[in-house]
């Protein structure tokens, strides 16, 4: 007899669970990467408002994390990923993505460089076999350390003020930089990163620091109305920021059942990250060919007239021919506009004569709308405080 009880609690509790559970007034939970995650603590509008107005806290623990160490770490990551990991300075963070040999996306994520030979990959999906197989011939170690790190995302225009009140002066920290700060006899890492398109920080610690840090942060943030937020509010903010999510805006190549589903970085608007000069990397040949021949798909941001969200809608050219589909959409409270992220056949990326067919459910019946859409820049919402130095203090 063993004392294994995974079958009774299939979803792992994060190190913050005692606090998130007591704050989750509606018991509204969802699974994320095998963890129990708050979808909403009680009021999605007020939680969203905390992101854009004050300070919001999101439990990031379920993010999948891999540590890459060893003399060849930079070379290995340069072979693995599309962006140049060698150019990332120690103490820096960048957004990146990686592909299979066909140049199709496996995932996107953030890469943190803690030391010359010490990186952390933070991503949505699990990739250990791929990461280990790719390491052949490199002097590196790859370890899955998801449960060894507890992390919170503190986002909102008051986040720097809250951290200062907590004794953590992040005023010198530039966007996409990180630093270590003392906390309760130990240290935590703070990076100026996030998934909301607003001023914000991600706070990285050991699981045993989680609860004391949560309590410390919420006590310090009370005058600014600090508030835990669930995935529903975060998803709204990330749509406004125009960010994509693996398995929501594209299907990773390793999971796609249908061969036409995977997308390349060029097709997903990530072409700007590719370093063509850094030497060979996985997928390079296929991506070069795609670049020469043209992509089949394109990712676009859309402005949708009216006030009905276009979630899950199909796009048409000239109201007749299918041209693509919406992967994420929302009424944006920040913009007072209906916005959408969509995949379209590349020839429609300009948006000429592009229409969306929306089925709006009203009291059990669908109202059908056919509306002309406009292709617009992402991010849809891009406040100056997102990048301002020093960070805004409120």
């Amino acid at each position: 007899m063993t004392n294994l009880t995974h079958f009774r609690t299939p979803l792992r509790h994060t190190p913050f669970h005692p606090r998130t559970a007591s704050a989750n007034r509606l018991n509204r939970w969802g699974p994320w990467a095998g963890c129990m995650t708050s979808l909403c603590y009680g009021d999605v509008d007020m939680e969203y408002t905390a992101i854009r107005n004050a300070a919001s806290v999101y439990d990031l623990c379920p993010m999948v994390k891999y540590r890459v160490t060893g003399p060849d770490a930079a070379d290995y990551l340069n072979r693995l990923m599309i962006r140049n990991a060698a150019k990332l300075p120690v103490g820096g963070v960048h957004y990146t993505a990686w592909c299979d040999d066909d140049g199709k996306l496996l995932d996107d994520g953030t890469l943190f460089r803690h030391g010359p030979e010490d990186y952390l990959i933070c991503c949505q999906e699990r990739h250990l076999p791929w990461l280990l197989d790719s390491a052949q011939g490199f002097d590196v170690q790859v370890a899955e350390i998801t449960e060894e790190i507890a992390a919170l995302s503190l986002q909102g225009p008051c986040s720097a003020s809250v951290l200062a009140a907590a004794g953590l002066d992040v005023s010198a920290l530039k966007p996409f930089r990180m630093a270590r700060f003392p906390f309760a006899g130990g240290e935590i890492t703070i990076s100026r990163t996030g998934f909301t398109g607003d001023l914000g920080y991600e706070l990285w610690m050991t699981p045993d620091q989680a609860l004391p840090f949560w309590d410390h942060l919420f006590a310090a943030g009370a005058p600014w109305g600090i508030r835990p937020i669930g995935t529903d509010a975060l998803d709204l903010a990330r749509i406004e920021a125009g960010f994509i999510i693996t398995n929501m805006d594209f299907v990773p190549a390793h999971q796609a059942l249908r061969e036409d589903r995977p997308r390349s970085p060029l097709e997903m608007g990530l072409g700007w990250m590719i370093d063509w000069e850094k030497g060979n990397f996985t997928g390079r040949r296929a991506l070069l060919a795609e670049k020469a021949q043209g992509s089949e798909w394109a990712l676009v941001g859309l402005d949708v007239p009216g006030n009905v969200s276009a979630e899950g809608s199909i796009l048409y050219h000239d109201k007749k021919h299918e041209a693509g589909f919406v992967t994420a959409a929302a009424w944006s409270p920040a913009l007072k506009a209906s916005v959408a992220i969509a995949q379209v056949k590349a020839r429609h990326a300009g948006g000429d004569n592009l229409w969306v067919e929306i089925y709006a459910l009203r009291e059990l019946q669908y109202v059908k709308l056919m509306l002309p859409v406009r292709v617009v820049e992402r991010p849809f919402y891009n406040p100056a405080r997102r990048r301002a130095m020093p960070p805004e203090r409120v």
Partner: protein, 537 residues
């Protein structure tokens, strides 16, 4: 130089009109008598480090189509929803309002199980009226005496709207428009405090009591807005209500428009029956192909246009336009958050609207004082602490409190307000709050007191009426401000109106300004720069 349009008054409607015209390529100039912009959507720092919402204090009616058209988000505007509210009862109890439907139902059930379930039916009925009225907000009212094709088409449209209702619903609608809110609520509810809370929206800004016929419509006027689709919900403008006019000004300047502050209009220049510009109080003359007044209809035509230029019948009707002031305001800087012992620890209601008038009868007695020419001795107050949500208006831990007070008459027993009257009014209000929040007065750092006298002198609202004219049925739609002149035009060619005296009326809505701009562009044969109103599905 000659502007295409000179707009008189940098309130929200004047700025909305100016923005739309500037986007159509017109050369526009907004003139403002004060050294600051904003009209009644204004935020000034009257105590160091504290930003006030000096007049209007919450937002719901401001049309999202306008915010989108004019890119106000890009120019810094953020609307923040707030959380419910509470009425304190005499004797220590309270009624809370919550954003969560189930929490709200359980709270109502503490006061009446019947009312808790009746509320859903009431809310459904009010929403039906909102669905009827919302499509009218962004349309120019038809002239029912005209046979021009556009007027006939709009009349037909109105008839179709009515025709789409069932006979029963049509009867309900007519009843609702003409009833008192007291009678209307009696049909749904039994709890005095629940009725006291719900009646509030029917008296705000109105020289009617809750038992006056016609007050029910005023409630609808406060319910027909929304915050991001939550119809009837209200919110704060981040940084105070002045953030709305600041964003509008930035949007206007980005489109090439100008704002001149510091000298108001002395008179509107009229030559050969046409407006040709304005003469400012400082003597400056600004020439314009058209003049658009954001001032109320009385101020515009009785103070700034020579009577001989106007038809007698028009002047008579403008003089008869009801614009009685009924409210005042206290804006308070607080050293610390007030404590209301009646509320449970950590209750969210402190982040919403707080009232002390726990029955309709008490509210009506406050109105009795107004009728007798005195401010209410036991006033109704709509108390809000926006800094419970908005961190930008005060230093952390400090608070700004906005107290909307009713009733306050334009004159005290027939004579002008004195400073002593104003101080008495202030003390009456502060004492009322103190009696529900012991120690409150010790936390007060500064109070701005605004009676109808100050509202008229500073903001320019005749008699201190916040809606630029009462929202009674006789002064709505094609009768607003006066019959025959509901299409933003006046008897003088090239002199237009864009303020809340015009359809669809007051509140920080922007619809009058938008509709006026649409009419100006139509007459100038320019392409509209405004999108259509969102469809009601």
């Amino acid at each position: 130089m000659t502007y295409d349009a000179v707009i008189v008054g940098a309130g929200h409607n004047g700025l909305v009109t100016a923005c739309y015209l500037a986007r159509a390529g017109m050369k526009v100039c907004v003139v403002e008598k004060n050294d600051w912009i904003g009209g009644a959507a204004v935020s000034r720092e009257l105590y160091p480090g504290f930003t006030y919402s000096n007049c209007s204090y919450v937002s719901s009616l401001f049309r999202p189509e306008i915010m989108r058209d004019l890119e106000l988000s890009k120019h810094g505007l953020q609307i923040l929803p707030y959380e419910g509210g509470a009425v304190f009862q005499q004797g220590g109890g309270y009624l809370g309002m919550f954003r969560d439907h189930d929490a709200n139902r359980r709270e109502f059930a503490r006061h009446s199980r019947r009312d808790a379930e009746a509320y859903d039916i009431y809310a459904r009925d009010i929403l039906r009226f909102c669905r009827f009225i919302r499509p009218m907000l962004m349309r120019t009212p038809p002239d029912p005496s005209s046979f021009r094709p556009r007027d006939l088409a709009e009349l037909m449209w109105l008839a179709r709207q009515m025709g789409a209702l069932s006979e029963g619903q049509r009867a309900e609608m007519v009843r609702f428009w003409t009833m008192s809110i007291s009678d209307y609520l009696d049909e749904y509810f039994e709890s005095p405090v629940i009725k006291g809370y719900l009646a509030v929206s029917a008296i705000i800004g109105t020289a009617l009591g809750p038992m006056s016929p016609g007050s029910a419509y005023v409630l609808l006027h406060h319910y027909m807005g929304d915050v991001d689709g939550n119809v009837g919900a209200w919110g704060f403008a981040r940084g105070g209500m002045g953030a709305i006019t600041r964003a509008l000004t930035a949007s206007l300047q980005a489109a090439g428009g100008e704002v001149r502050t510091g000298s108001g209009v002395d008179r509107i220049a009229v030559r050969d029956g046409r407006a040709t510009g304005v003469v400012l109080a400082n003597g400056d003359e600004i020439a314009g192909r058209r003049v658009i007044s954001n001032m109320d209809v009385k101020r515009t035509f009785l103070k700034h246009v020579e009577e001989k230029e106007l038809p007698g019948d028009f002047v008579r009707r403008v003089k008869a336009f009801k614009i009685r002031g009924s409210s005042g305001k206290l804006n308070i800087a607080l050293d610390a958050a007030p404590v209301f012992p009646a509320l449970p620890e950590g209750a969210p209601m402190i982040r919403g609207d707080l009232h002390f008038t726990d029955s309709i009868e008490r509210m009506e007695r406050g109105y009795d004082d107004w009728k007798a020419g005195h401010y209410s001795r036991d006033p109704f107050q709509d108390v809000m602490i926006p800094t419970m949500i908005d961190p930008t208006m005060t230093p952390p831990g400090k608070h700004f409190m906005s107290c909307f007070v009713q009733y306050a008459p334009p004159k005290i027993e027939g004579r002008a307000w004195t400073d002593a009257d104003r101080d008495g009014f202030r003390d009456t209000c502060l004492n009322q709050i103190e009696s529900y929040s012991p120690g409150f007065k010790d936390r007060v750092l500064h109070v701005e007191v605004r009676t109808p006298r100050e509202l008229e002198a500073e903001v320019g609202l005749t008699e201190g009426n916040i809606f630029q004219g009462e929202l009674t049925f006789d002064q709505l739609l094609f009768n607003r401000p006066v019959p025959g002149y509901a299409q933003y035009r006046s008897p003088i060619r090239d002199l237009w109106m864009c303020g809340s005296s015009t359809h669809p009326g007051g509140g920080v809505m922007g619809a009058p300004g938008r509709n006026a701009a649409a009419e100006v562009l139509r007459e100038a044969k320019l392409k509209p720069t405004m999108s259509d109103a969102y469809a009601v599905l």
